[in-house]
């Protein structure tokens, strides 16, 4: 049993609060992805868990052990560093074998496991080389292999695929997913790449300025972002936001530019409580479609740019003075300069507080 529990973990560097009372529970065998902009404290959280950074407050548990004050080696976890931290004076083989040797494993077992790890990361041909003789991507794979062969119950990976080319990255992603299904290590995986996050994570924890702002299964994070920040961070392109005002009288409706948007019955009470107040309408680019005429829930839009992307066309449009992105099928006929009607289902809309940016439920 090796679940992980962060209990109000705090880490401060001078004036920067890198971990602001982070509480997070990760179940045994779960694959947790940490996602967030640069400098939001992802690495710091991993380092606290690994014992490389002392915490200024809070406790950390692995399984039912309180590891807060243990040395890194006593925490029994493997970590893949963002900076690779591959040992320059050791060959690829010795790098991958390092941890196993420290555990005093027999020679043939080390050899077998290093071979397996090298195969998984396509490093078989480089085992005798020194890191200086490798490309950045190869070095990164050595770092991943070195962590994986430990078969620790807890595996921490800090942007382990960041330096690979797109194709290899795609392969490795699938390999990591397969590997996790196989060894079931409790995994924390840091990435900037949301596709990676959505594809790999059992759950995703989205971080901002040292806090976890939302932690949920990938589909909920995508469909139901907790705030403008999360919606605007996840998705390529991210969620669109339009300013509106809740109508002062009658059935609650939201006025966006010339249009009036009617909420679903489930959304109505929350909006009714905000009569006359400004509000944000969040809608994903793929949930907007062309309509032939003005009808319920349509917006008037002006096409500025058309980008054919193969599987779809990405449009940049002006709607009531704001710029939004719209994704339409590849065979949709459209040219820049067109003025069109955009339609959406009311249940795809997310309403956010105009001040705090938090989603209104």
């Amino acid at each position: 049993m090796a679940g992980i529990k962060f209990d109000s973990v705090r880490r401060v560097f001078g004036k920067t609060v890198a971990s602001n009372d982070v509480s997070l529970e990760i179940k045994d065998g779960e694959f947790m992805v940490l996602l967030g902009p640069s400098g939001c404290g992802k690495t710091t959280l991993l380092r606290c868990l690994a014992g490389l950074e002392r915490v200024d407050g809070g406790r950390i548990y692995i399984g039912d052990r309180d590891v807060t004050d243990l040395a890194p080696r006593d925490r029994k976890l493997a970590m893949v560093f963002q900076s690779y931290a591959v040992f320059p004076h050791l060959t690829v083989f010795d790098n991958i074998a390092f941890g196993l040797k420290m555990q005093g494993r027999p020679k043939d077992e080390i050899k077998r496991r290093v071979q397996e790890g090298a195969e998984l990361l396509q490093l078989q041909d480089y085992l005798a080389r020194y890191p200086a003789q490798l490309s950045g991507g190869q070095r990164q794979r050595v770092a991943v292999a070195r962590g994986i062969v430990m078969q620790a119950q807890v595996l921490l990976m800090d942007e382990p695929l960041s330096n690979l080319d797109a194709l290899l990255r795609l392969q490795m992603r699938a390999e990591l997913k397969r590997l996790h299904a196989e060894i079931k290590a409790t995994t924390i995986y840091v990435t900037h790449d949301q596709v990676e996050a959505l594809s790999l994570g059992d759950r995703i924890a989205v971080m901002k300025s040292g806090r976890i702002v939302q932690c949920d299964v990938p589909m909920n994070i995508y469909d139901d972002p907790a705030s403008v920040f999360v919606g605007g961070f996840i998705g390529t392109p991210p969620m669109n936001f339009l300013k509106g005002v809740v109508s002062a009288e009658g059935a609650p409706q939201v006025v966006v530019g010339e249009s009036r948007i009617a909420p679903t019955p489930a959304q109505t009470p929350a909006l009714a409580a905000r009569r006359g107040q400004p509000i944000l309408l969040g809608i994903r680019p793929e949930n907007l479609a062309f309509a032939s005429s003005a009808q319920r829930n349509t917006l008037r839009g002006h096409v500025v740019v058309v980008e054919p992307l193969g599987s779809h066309k990405l449009l940049t449009m002006q709607v009531s003075g704001e710029t939004i992105k719209v994704s339409v099928p590849p065979d949709q006929s459209v040219a820049s300069g067109n003025d069109v009607w955009l339609h959406f289902d009311a249940d795809k809309i997310r309403w956010m507080d105009a001040g705090s940016g938090d989603t209104i439920h």
Partner: protein, 286 residues
């Protein structure tokens, strides 16, 4: 449009190129002057050390090795006390290396890896300790060494040389350890090493060439040091002390040969480690 851009760039480039040439000439001119300043005496000493005994005092001097001979060097090496003092010098230098690395490297490591109160002050005070001339300390030092039974022993000389070398060794090794990324140590720790094991298995192998250079630098400091060695020894002289003490009653060619003999190891070693010496000031100051 494009061509006018090219022309205006070309027009600007000419004076820049000229300035560049002027700067380069100035720089190299100064460097050559500086090099001559130190190389000329060395050359003259070498010239005399490898001429016949008569040639040393001949006048006017030829600036080329016209009467090459190893007589002078042989005479020097076979002189009474020289070989024994070479032995003493080597022993003292080795003891100094061992002591100053054993004491200095951990200090350097601490400066490189930890942030602590008064770090800057400590770093500065290492250098301040170099401000006191040995001459001021000589009498109390000799007295203390007499009391301690260290007077006229290689141990005593090594002790003083260690004190002299320590500030440099600490700063040098700090620079070396800063150069070994901290992540590597941390990675080793997550892979099952204690701090000490991580140091021995990862930091030490990576720092070894530079540490060897620091050792050689220490060797040179000890090998060249004359003042303290002269004051606190009588029978067990190091080479510089031996040469110095016999300077007044020895012929000119003995002095040149001795001078040359002492310069050479220092020159060779410094040449070998020049890359690391440049590191000393650069990388610790973060």
């Amino acid at each position: 449009m494009e061509s006018s851009l090219a022309i205006s760039r070309g027009a600007k480039r000419a004076p820049i190129a000229w300035r560049h040439v002027r700067d380069q000439v100035g720089l190299y001119g100064a460097a050559i002057l500086l090099a001559l300043w130190t190389l000329a005496p060395i050359y003259l000493i070498a010239l005399s050390a490898f001429s016949t005994k008569a040639g040393v005092s001949a006048w006017p001097k030829s600036l080329l090795p016209t009467n090459f001979s190893t007589d002078t060097m042989q005479f020097f090496i076979n002189s009474k006390g020289v070989l024994q003092s070479v032995g003493n010098s080597v022993v003292v230098a080795l003891l100094t290396i061992a002591a100053s690395l054993l004491l200095g490297a951990p200090g350097g490591y601490a400066l490189a890896r930890f942030r602590f109160k008064g770090k800057q002050t400590i770093q500065l005070s290492f250098l301040i300790s170099k401000m006191f001339p040995t001459a001021i300390l000589s009498v109390p030092l000799a007295v203390t060494f007499l009391q301690l039974g260290l007077y006229d022993t290689v141990w005593g000389v090594a002790l003083i040389h260690t004190a002299m070398a320590l500030p440099f060794v600490i700063l040098l090794t700090a620079g070396i350890f800063v150069g070994v990324p901290r992540d590597l140590e941390e990675a080793a720790q997550t892979l099952g090493c204690t701090r000490m094991q991580a140091f021995v298995r990862v930091v030490l192998p990576l720092a070894l060439p530079a540490l060897a250079a620091a050792a050689i630098f220490t060797f040179v400091i000890s090998w060249n040091e004359v003042f303290a060695a002269t004051i606190i020894t009588l029978q067990h002289r190091t080479l510089p002390a031996q040469v110095l003490s016999s300077l007044n009653d020895s012929p000119l060619y003995y002095r040149f040969a001795g001078g040359f003999f002492m310069i050479v190891p220092a020159l060779i070693f410094i040449f070998l480690i020049r890359k690391y010496l440049l590191n000393m000031w650069g990388s610790v100051v973060r």
